[in-house]
């Protein structure tokens, strides 16, 4: 789908690799290390993608929250050794978020068992995203979500 991700040193000194946005302002793809600091880096990626949007804009705030929660999931449940790739694509009426971890597949039943904490984050994602899903297998795990510009009921 997107082969433009930079693959440099395993954990680059600068956590952020801006590879897509220079060519296409509506798309950004970054490789982040599997560490808690990457959650803030993921929000910063949203800020970069929506640099022209007012910081208090509801859509921007919601997208930051969804990206933050999904990134947290990848850091907490994903492989501690493999880079996490975050892809953000801006469409007319929504943004598509995709977070890919090349590590071990996530056991869905295990994820559910841990719901006491992980569940709260996914509840936030569920409330904001039109839909989200986890695709897990030998190639790794991808969590994707579609975040609408406007929530139902908003004008």
């Amino acid at each position: 789908m997107n082969e433009r991700m930079t693959q440099g040193a395993k954990f680059p000194a600068a956590p952020l690799h801006h590879t897509g946005g220079m060519l296409d302002p509506s798309r950004v793809s970054v490789a982040l290390e599997p560490a808690p600091a990457s959650v803030a880096a993921a929000r910063r990626t949203v800020d970069a993608l929506l640099a022209d949007v007012d910081p208090s804009d509801e859509f921007r705030l919601r997208l930051r929250l969804v990206v933050s929660e999904l990134m947290t999931n990848a850091v907490v449940h994903g492989s501690p050794t493999s880079t996490i790739r975050l892809d953000l694509t801006l469409h007319g009426d929504h943004a598509h978020v995709s977070i890919h971890n090349a590590g071990e597949p996530i056991d869905i039943t295990e994820l559910r068992r841990r719901r006491e904490d992980g569940g709260r984050g996914l509840d936030l994602v569920t409330a904001i995203a039109d839909r989200w899903g986890i695709d897990t297998g030998p190639g790794g795990t991808t969590i994707s979500a579609r975040v609408p510009r406007r929530l139902a009921g908003e004008t």
Binding site: H18, P36, V39, A40, R44, L65, T72, V75, V76, L124
Partner: protein, 121 residues
């Protein structure tokens, strides 16, 4: 432009004692997974140090589910120890929204200010 780390306000945690039995934990900036352990520790220690724990998140610009979980655990610990807990909320839209969506606002004894928390005995 986007690599400037100063774009994201650092998470801040301040602890003070506004009244003899009360301990105030004030959070500022953006809080997420990377600060949740420090927040948890500050809340746990502050609860042990007084009989009334007040957590002020008015100056936070972002909190996530790990912060919300830490707040809930502190509230539950306060209940279990027979101590008082208040959350001071008067804050960024997304912070309020995250708390709203999580359905935890009614559980966290929310007040409008630190003074209100101290007055409401």
């Amino acid at each position: 432009m986007m690599n400037d780390p100063s774009q994201i306000p650092e998470p801040r945690i301040q602890i003070s004692r506004p009244a003899p039995d009360a301990v105030l934990v004030s959070l500022g900036g953006e809080h997420d997974l990377s600060s949740s352990r420090d927040v948890e520790k500050a809340l746990t220690e502050s609860l042990e140090a007084g009989s009334h724990l007040i957590v002020n998140i008015s100056d936070t610009e972002f909190i996530d589910s790990s912060t919300i979980s830490a707040l809930l655990r502190a509230k539950n610990a306060a209940d279990a120890a027979g101590k008082r807990f208040n959350l001071v909320l008067g804050t960024a839209a997304i912070v309020e929204r995250a708390l709203d969506i999580s359905g935890v606002v009614p559980l966290l004894d929310v007040v409008a200010s630190v003074d209100a928390a101290l007055a409401a005995v």
